[in-house]
């Protein structure tokens, strides 16, 4: 856990929905080129926390954040910081595959176009390379101009990953990416995550502990809005420091 390798960082983060406190004094470091899993029982604030890293919670009315979240050394919640810029650097893959009702090609070129890219060849190349990186190219290369909604759930989710990769983010947030997928698609996504961490910094929310154990380097255990324990996945799963963590991992509650 080298302090020089920190990519993102929460500092004394509290988050409120109206008056209800959803996150309670979270301090959490995210390391470069690693996968950090956030685990915990339903309603513990995992999704709330991950959606803070790209300011997605800004869209929910009557919410409030205290504390700071850094991307490198800049607080992304500073007044005057550019939300669009942040979201381009911190990409996100959502719980349910959410391709646009457009063609496969357009789904991926969209992110480039809204960021001002006009060069057709460049876009074309980037669409292909993103699909390849997301391990979807072979399955869709003959039907790039068909509707993305015809793809299976697992393919749609990989399309969403490709769409996210196309804008070349630095950090990728996965919010329970396999929650609605079958085991085979889940396995493909997991393999993909392991491949992607070579280039990107990854944060993944999951309520599947085995998944956290398989893909992550670091794990944060959240319980009722509090960060109970954070450490390398290996240590957290084998020798948890906190009793609560151990109880959760052994299935005493959940």
């Amino acid at each position: 856990m080298d302090k020089n390798n920190i990519r993102m960082k929460c500092e004394k983060v509290n988050f409120y929905y109206g008056r209800k406190r959803a996150l309670d004094d979270i301090n959490l470091d995210i390391y470069k080129n690693s996968v950090t899993a956030i685990i915990g029982p339903s309603g513990c604030g995992k999704s709330t926390l991950i959606r803070l890293y790209n300011r997605m919670n800004d869209l929910i009315p009557r919410t409030r954040l205290e504390g700071k979240i850094f991307l490198d050394d800049k607080n992304i919640y500073d007044i005057g910081s550019d939300v669009v810029e942040i979201r381009r650097k911190v990409g996100m893959v959502f719980q349910k595959p959410n391709p646009f009702p457009k063609t496969i090609f357009e789904n991926i070129s969209y992110g480039l176009e809204v960021n001002g890219e006009k060069d057709k060849t460049f876009i074309n190349d980037r669409v292909i390379s993103s699909l390849k990186k997301a391990a979807l190219w072979c399955e869709v290369k003959d039907r790039l101009h068909d509707s993305a909604l015809q793809l299976s759930g697992g393919q749609q989710q990989r399309l969403c990953i490709a769409r996210c990769l196309a804008v070349e983010p630095e950090v990728i947030l996965f919010d329970e990416p396999c929650a609605s997928l079958d085991p085979i698609s889940t396995q493909k996504i997991e393999e993909l995550i392991l491949e992607l961490k070579k280039t990107y910094t990854i944060i993944i929310v999951t309520h599947n502990m085995q998944q956290a154990a398989r893909v992550s380097d670091f794990t944060a255990f959240l319980y009722i809005g509090k960060l109970v324990e954070f450490g390398t996945t290996e240590k957290l799963f084998t020798v948890p420091k906190e009793k609560l963590t151990e109880e959760y991992l052994t299935g005493k509650f959940g």
Binding site: V84, G91, N98, P101, Y110, N115, S147, C164, V167
Partner: protein, 280 residues
């Protein structure tokens, strides 16, 4: 059972329309009826060409479209994107109340306020013109367009918006490139239904468009759309005469036009539901 009653009414209406309307097509010929340039029902011999009336309807409807699309779609976008929940709860019912205002009241409003204004602003001999009719009809169609468009916009899944914003699109790009296209078919359904309302509207156009059954050469002269022709002349047409049948013939044409509009609207909205994966 009651649903079948409406089917019965529909069939009854169609039978009456066809029985009374078809003879005129036989008498003057389909082409002469639809494309004849003169509507002189009381001359001797009478002429029954509905082209001037149909063109007047078309012009007024088109004009109404120019008013109701920006206003209706614009207010739908405002309600959906910018208005807070409180503002929306207040504004949407108000816009829908417009739909409940009797058309004759719109007619009064048009006669007393809009027509004199049009006359003054454009320096015309009379204020009762196709233009005046367009404005009033446009306003009348706003609630239909707005309400259906707003529904379509709110059906666009939140996940589309989130996906777009998460890719670094700003709010405006998200609206133009994702939300509006996704709601596009719903919006067009609203526009078509608004149009069919404008085509079929009678009282208002009778009161504000001036009623001259001549070929409409501009928006700023009095015209007589199909609906107001029927309303104005039915009282004086002898039952069973050619004039009588001609008026029913106009009714038949109107019926077919609104039917087509409705079928198109239905087709579009079905495609829209399939596209968003909402099922049929």
């Amino acid at each position: 059972m009651l649903a079948f009653a409406s089917l019965l009414f529909l069939v009854g209406i169609m039978v009456v329309l066809f029985l009374n309307g078809l003879p005129i097509f036989k008498e003057t010929g389909v082409f002469n009826f639809l494309f004849g340039r003169n509507w002189y029902p009381t001359y001797d011999p009478p002429e029954f060409g509905i082209l001037p009336l149909a063109l007047a309807s078309l012009m007024v409807t088109f004009g109404a479209l120019l008013v109701c699309v920006p206003l209706g779609v614009g207010s739908a976008l405002y309600l959906n994107e910018l208005a807070g929940p409180r503002q929306k709860a207040f504004l949407k019912p108000i816009i829908e109340i417009i739909a409940g205002v009797p058309s004759i009241v719109f007619g009064f409003f048009g006669m007393l306020i809009v027509a004199p204004m049009v006359q003054k602003i454009f320096n015309l001999p009379v204020g009762f013109t196709a233009f005046t009719g367009s404005i009033i009809l446009g306003i009348m169609a706003v609630p239909t367009v707005c309400s259906i468009s707003e529904d379509a916009l709110s059906y666009v899944p939140k996940s589309f918006r989130e996906a777009s914003l998460a890719l670094g699109a700003n709010r405006w790009q998200t609206l133009i490139k994702v939300v509006i296209p996704a709601a596009g078919s719903g919006i067009s359904t609203g526009i078509i239904l608004g149009m069919s309302r404008a085509v079929g509207e009678t009282m208002t156009v009778l009161m504000v468009t001036g009623g001259a059954a001549v070929m409409p050469k501009s928006f700023f002269i009095p015209v007589r759309p199909m609906t107001s022709t029927i309303a104005a002349e039915m009282g004086e047409a002898v039952v069973g005469s050619s004039h009588f049948h001609a008026l029913f013939g106009i009714g038949l044409v109107l019926f077919v036009i609104t039917l087509i509009f409705n079928i198109i609207a239905e087709m579009i909205s079905r495609r829209f539901r399939v596209k968003l994966g909402l099922g049929r």
